[in-house]
């Protein structure tokens, strides 16, 4: 079999803002078809890591590779066709666009200088709206949406980029349980129908364990764990205690018999 390079690979990736080192020697490799949850304390470097992978931060040469190509050698538009990024909703300025127009912005890396949409673009945007389950919002203005709808509209924008990789920075953190489920279903649909690689930052240990195939844990800017969820579960709950510095215990749900982890009190 010919050797296929991992779809994303970091080799001894380090990153610092001014003097503060945020990422220290991170080496991970992610293959096509996988789904990953990125976990860790606040300030562990999760957002910085996915920003480095998305090409948003100036990384050293030969430290991040996409399909085997050094990310620093890719043109912005080339990169945008391979990787899409959904930032934390709170960091976005609200713009006076309709949902349809906003999602159309995701077509930018494929369009000409004046970014005039053609019929293909329209078809792809409609498909993105369907995948993110926001088809009925197309003509609404962004300013009129609820937080949960907004987050899925941002997801649709990223889907419209038709990239093989989707990086999400805490897509569910501010959502109610219903919208968390809707968000997860949209992500599942995108993964199942298009085989998109999904890498999500989450603070929800249970969703990390139950909904993703692989887990990447950061601690203080260093790689603490990277591997399959099965391996991770085998080390639960002690591995969680090491990551989050508080006790965790395992519990079983009464009716579904699902096993979950619950943070305990600090000693």
């Amino acid at each position: 079999m010919p050797f296929t390079p991992p779809i994303i690979q970091t080799k001894n990736l380090s990153f610092s803002y001014k003097e503060k080192t945020v990422l220290n020697n991170i080496s991970v490799s992610i293959s096509s078809g996988e789904t990953w949850a990125v976990i860790g304390k606040n300030g562990a470097g999760k957002s910085t890591l996915i920003k480095c992978m998305a090409g948003l931060l100036p990384v050293q040469k030969e430290s991040v590779f996409i399909n085997g190509t050094d990310i620093t050698r890719l043109k912005p538009r080339e990169l945008a066709r391979v990787i899409a990024y959904v930032p934390q909703a709170a960091t976005l300025g609200l713009a006076p666009y309709t949902v349809f127009d906003f999602v159309m912005l995701g077509r930018f890396p494929y369009q000409g200088v004046m970014a005039i949409p053609n019929q293909d673009d329209e078809r792809i945007v409609l498909e993105a709206l369907r995948l993110a389950d926001v088809e009925n919002l197309g003509s609404r203005h962004l300013t009129t949406l609820s937080g949960g709808e907004m987050q899925r509209v941002f997801l649709a924008g990223a889907v419209a980029q038709q990239s093989k990789i989707l990086l999400l920075d805490e897509p569910s953190t501010f959502l109610d349980p219903l919208h968390q489920v809707l968000m997860r279903k949209s992500l599942d649909r995108i993964h199942n129908e298009y085989g998109t690689v999904i890498l999500t930052i989450t603070h929800d240990a249970n969703s990390a364990i139950s909904q993703f195939g692989n887990i990447l844990a950061l601690n203080n800017g260093c790689l603490f764990f990277s591997g399959t969820t099965i391996d991770f579960k085998a080390r639960c709950p002690s591995v969680l205690e090491e990551i989050f510095s508080i006790p965790f215990e395992q519990a079983q749900c009464v009716s579904s018999k699902r096993s979950i982890v619950v943070p305990g009190e600090m000693a």
Binding site: L56, R77, L105, M114, A115
Partner: protein, 332 residues
Amino acid sequence: MISKSSLVQLSLLFAAAVLVIAIAPFIGMDIITPDKLFKDELQTTIFFSLRVPRVLAAFLAGSGLALCGMVFQAMFRNPLADPFTLGISSGASCGAAAIILSGINGAILGIPYISLGAFAGAALSMACVYALSSLRRASSGITMLLSGIAMSFLFSSILMFMQYVSSLRDSFHIVRWLMGGIEVIGYQQIFSMVPFLVCGIIILIFKLPELDHLLVGDDLAKSRGVRVSLTKNLLLLAATLIVGSIVAVCGPIGFVGLMTPHICRMFFKTRHTILGPATFLFGGIFLVLCDMLARVVIAPAEMPVGVITALLGGPFFLWLLFIKKARGIGLD
């Protein structure tokens, strides 16, 4: 695909612009009726060498300032940004005042020294702001806005100092220049503006789609393949060319650049590829009308157009905001 309704609205706006430009030269201290044109020699001269160039200058100034206001508001994601935010206005004023004080009169290629001073001042201010904010490598919009405001105060103080030490006559001259006015005589000044305007506007046109992305956020823009810092630098360069050349000829005309983009956003709640042309046309129409009033209200004397823009535009904007309850300024 661009929606049909936006195209219709744009065409209407274009028709309005043509109409206003065609009618405005007939109106002034005296009304020139079409039948007298070409028959009465004096009136023909007034029409073609005074009124027509003046209307054209007003249109270009209004559209350029409005366009730059729209660009700055999107780029800095700030509804209060305007063409003068980065200290361009006070820089230009300082340059003009320095020439007035030095007492040198004259022109190169028909461009008065005062205009050259203003252009140099505007460019200097812009360059300072740019240099300051690139010193701090993370050139965030806020850093740039704040350095612009700081430069603006600095230049204003220098201006006040110059006025303080100047004679009453020079001081009045400076104050009058600060009010802004389109006292264009003949076509020479328009020809001096046009190369800068055209260069600036061409750059802006090709960067209109990127503005949509910048308005949403730099990170998201970058992840979509927008070259964020290159785009911002090009936009700044374009704005400097446009605003510098306008201020040099017409002085710092306020309000147009700050408010007309908001008025257009109320009607064209859409992407910048439509909003841009709309703002260009509307800004031009607005300033031509204001200048027309400036020539008429206290005829045979003239008002500085800067007085009219805010006097007329302020209540109009408030009416839109509070009575018509126009929604979707979109930047709040």
